[in-house]
């Protein structure tokens, strides 16, 4: 059987887009995520010529809607949220790709009807296109949708069907396994694409490039040279309108179990043999297996109190709309993680994340050990800090390296200086949104940036003990606009270290 990879005219074409004829179905197409992220991302891929020439997008939701109404709905969503304005000249071509199918999630008949519709669309595209299903619904619908798809044989053929699932992948280890069991009843693991949009960010992917395309850092990337690593995911915003969701999740489930542990895995993993889905995910999971589960003793939880952020008065978490007054939900965590492997034994990874902190920043700071002996007079180097390498993920993406240099004074005086590299100063191009990268990868059947079930389960194993222990007691209050509760500083101080100021 001839396949698309055998099209000789594809050889050497520069556009890195997808080409296999594809029908892309969004379950929950009228929802918030579809409006804010998915439809704009697909439009941006389309206008850049990155989607397959033969593609159909099927919006599926319970609302009754004609194709024309869905076109208007999609256009409004794209106009509101796309990084590229709608091109009136191009719009008719894009709209021609969109179609809508109304249906519920709990009736097999609706899935059979969808299957018939997809078969018709497949015929229009020359037969047997790839099928990508995006579950853009609340997680509570995942089991019933997966089951409905299975009942209608929308999970076949295995090589042509992929299903994209949004986080959360469960709310603890047991529920994650339960969800996986349901999914695996109908789909093979290789068909399942668990999306964590953090991994689609350009600067997160740059961690790969920085670590594995540069020989000079790898020899010092271990416990012999690295004193400790600090990972910070700080938000200046509060819980906003997501109080109901946040009360169910808290900072560990919202940030640590997924985003932060994924970034940690990229920073600490061994070099993969290849940049492909299995090799990369094997190494990430291997690293996560070496991370000791989080403990109550090595962590601090906090909840934001009132204060000022960027000069604006900010309410406490308890004063946010829809937050119950007796809440003990943690909006902040600081913790020490140990990695029990040859590379990192004895080098702690300190993590912190919270809402309403001093500023929005995500960074990884690799703090190197001090030199074993300073051959200078004590007063010549008293201001000298140890070397530090900071990978800034957002905002102001870039890399800083701190090293000692002689100050231009008559006497010998060594000072720390920062050499700062900003991605924006070297590559000022349109950076794709994370969802664009990940949707395109799903269409191209590249699972490298998606999480695999064993990685998800291990992340829950790391987090679950702490979540369980935090059921008791109260979080420490911290003033909005600060870097968290004082106890977080004490966590570092007892190891003779301190948090850096991002």
């Amino acid at each position: 059987m001839a396949t698309t990879t055998e099209n000789p005219l594809r050889i050497g074409l520069r556009a890195g887009g997808a080409r296999e004829p594809t029908v892309f179905t969004i379950f929950g197409a009228t929802g918030d995520l579809a409006q804010r992220k998915l439809l704009p991302a697909i439009y941006n891929l389309a206008v850049r010529g990155l989607l397959p020439p033969q593609m159909r997008l099927v919006g599926y939701a319970r609302t009754d809607m004609s194709d024309e109404q869905f076109h208007r709905f999609a256009r409004a969503a794209i106009e509101s949220h796309s990084r590229t304005p709608v091109d009136d000249a191009y719009w008719p071509s894009f709209a021609a790709m969109l179609t809508y199918h109304a249906g519920g999630f709990d009736d097999d008949e609706h899935f059979h009807q969808l299957a018939t519709r997809l078969d018709e669309l497949g015929e229009q595209l020359g037969g047997a296109p790839a099928r990508v299903f995006y579950l853009s619904t609340p997680a509570s619908f995942f089991p019933v949708i997966l089951r409905g798809m299975g009942a209608a044989k929308l999970n076949r053929p295995i090589s042509q069907v992929r299903v994209v699932i949004e986080k959360p992948f469960g709310h603890d280890l047991a529920s994650a396994r339960e969800l996986a069991e349901i999914a695996h009843k109908w789909f093979q693991e290789r068909q399942i694409y668990r999306i964590d949009h953090y991994l689609g960010k350009e600067t997160v992917q740059n961690i790969f490039a920085f670590r594995f395309a540069n020989a000079i850092f790898e020899p010092v990337w271990n416990h012999r040279y690295v004193d400790h690593v600090q990972l910070t995911v700080a938000e200046s915003l509060g819980v906003e309108h997501r109080a109901a969701f946040y009360e169910e999740t808290g900072v560990v489930r919202d940030i640590i179990q997924n985003h932060l542990l994924q970034v940690l895995a990229l920073v600490a993993m061994e070099p993969p043999a290849a940049f492909d889905a299995e090799a990369v995910r094997d190494e990430k999971t291997k690293l996560l297996r070496a991370v000791r589960p989080m403990s109550f003793e090595n962590s601090v939880r906090g909840q934001y109190d009132r204060g000022y952020v960027a000069g604006e008065e900010a309410p406490s978490y308890k004063d946010e709309p829809e937050v119950p007054p007796e809440t003990t939900t943690a909006t902040y965590i600081a913790a020490k993680l140990d990695i029990d492997n040859w590379r990192w034994a004895g080098t702690p990874f300190y993590i912190r994340s919270g809402k309403r902190l001093a500023k929005r920043v995500t960074e990884v700071a690799v703090q190197f050990r001090r030199v074993p002996h300073l051959p200078f007079a004590q007063d010549a180097a008293e201001h000298l800090e140890a070397n530090a390498l900071v990978l800034r993920i957002q905002p102001d993406e870039g890399i800083s390296l701190r090293f000692g240099a002689k100050a231009p004074t008559p006497t010998l005086s060594i000072r720390s200086v920062n050499m700062d590299f900003q991605y924006g100063s070297s590559f000022l191009v349109d950076v794709p949104e994370a969802y664009e990268t990940l949707i395109l990868d799903a269409i191209r059947a590249d699972g490298t940036l998606f999480t695999r079930q064993d990685g998800v389960e291990r992340a829950w194993q790391i987090c679950d003990p702490l979540i369980s222990q935090w059921q008791q007691g109260q979080p420490q209050l911290y003033r909005s606009g600060t870097w968290g509760p004082e106890q977080a500083d004490e966590l570092m101080a007892r190891d003779g270290r301190r948090w850096r100021q991002p």
Binding site: A2, L9, I11, A15, G49, A89, F421
Partner: protein, 301 residues
């Protein structure tokens, strides 16, 4: 927002110092990011000015040092300026140096001012002759020679293809969306089989691009494909004749868009992109080294 610095005319020996002073002018210190050297040969003032206009667009995405060389009489001089792009969270700085010197002295001026260890692109905007010593010498420094066969002709490009490790043709770059659309016609299983029966191609467009397109099809499919050209200022339509039917890619009524159609597939639209010189050039600066598919197409054109 793009902020051009005021140009200063200096001796060649003062260029680096002048550029350093321009960098320090923003108060951000001495760190600079530069990703490539771009040497442009522009044989007259109009081409120098045109080059500066194109560079304003290219500098948006590529922090580079541009050395625009133009032959002149008298003592060698350089007009130095910088261009800073300050929006979208970045501050990309590009440096532009217009060097006027005797033709024989231009290569030595270029050597003096290249940023070390970075790739060198030569955009040749003059006539092309394989006996041109200046072209040979400048191309010898370059990792990539950029030329435009719509201006100098396909045969001239073919003659200089061994001058530099990599050769780029802006006319070939203009064909990219057309090739993309044509390839898209044959992704399906049924249509893929039709490629085996492709016999001839009819093109309405510039003759050089038509030849390159036919050369591409011949080299990819490994056999002779007939070519019939109806000359036009820009690419308008490509019709592929196969024993399995006719496949057509053509510019649509809307600007910068086209449609592609063929037996058994839904017609689809594709973007032709903005044929801006800056965009074309920027795309070529993203590539390093040679492009075997182009070289094979050129040989078969």
């Amino acid at each position: 927002m793009t902020v051009p610095g005021l140009p200063e005319t200096v001796e060649l020996g003062s260029v680096e110092r002048t550029l350093a002073a321009m960098r320090g002018g923003d108060g951000k210190g001495s760190v600079r990011s530069t990703t490539l050297n771009l040497v442009v040969y522009a044989p007259d003032d109009a081409l120098v000015q045109g080059t500066m206009d194109v560079l304003a667009g290219v500098s948006v995405s590529h922090p580079l040092r541009a050395l625009i060389v133009t032959p002149g009489d008298g003592k060698p001089v350089a007009e130095v300026s910088s261009l800073c792009r300050l929006d979208r969270g970045g501050d990309v700085l590009s440096e532009r140096v217009v060097i006027k010197a005797a033709a024989a002295g231009l290569p030595s001026a270029v050597v003096l001012l290249l940023v070390p260890d970075l790739p060198v692109f030569l955009w040749w905007r003059g006539d092309v002759s394989e006996d041109d010593a200046l072209l040979r010498e400048l191309a010898g420094m370059a990792t990539r020679l950029i030329i435009d066969s719509d201006i100098v002709g396909v045969d001239a490009v073919e003659r200089v293809c061994l001058f530099a490790p990599g050769l780029a043709d802006l006319a070939w770059a203009r064909l990219q969306p057309w090739r993309q659309a044509i390839a898209g016609l044959f992704d399906g299983r049924t249509q893929r089989r039709a490629l085996d029966h492709l016999m001839a191609v009819e093109v309405r467009g510039p003759e050089g691009q038509a030849r390159l397109l036919a050369g591409w099809l011949r080299s990819r499919l490994g056999r002779q494909i007939g070519l019939d050209v109806a000359k036009a200022q820009r690419m308008e339509r490509v019709e592929l004749h196969s024993g399995k039917g006719e496949f057509v890619v053509e510019r649509s009524g809307r600007d910068n868009h086209g449609t592609a159609s063929g037996p058994g597939i839904e017609p689809f639209a594709f973007s032709l992109g903005q044929p801006l010189a800056a965009r074309m050039l920027a795309a070529e600066l993203d590539e390093l080294g040679g492009e075997p598919v182009f070289e094979e197409a050129l040989a078969a054109a």
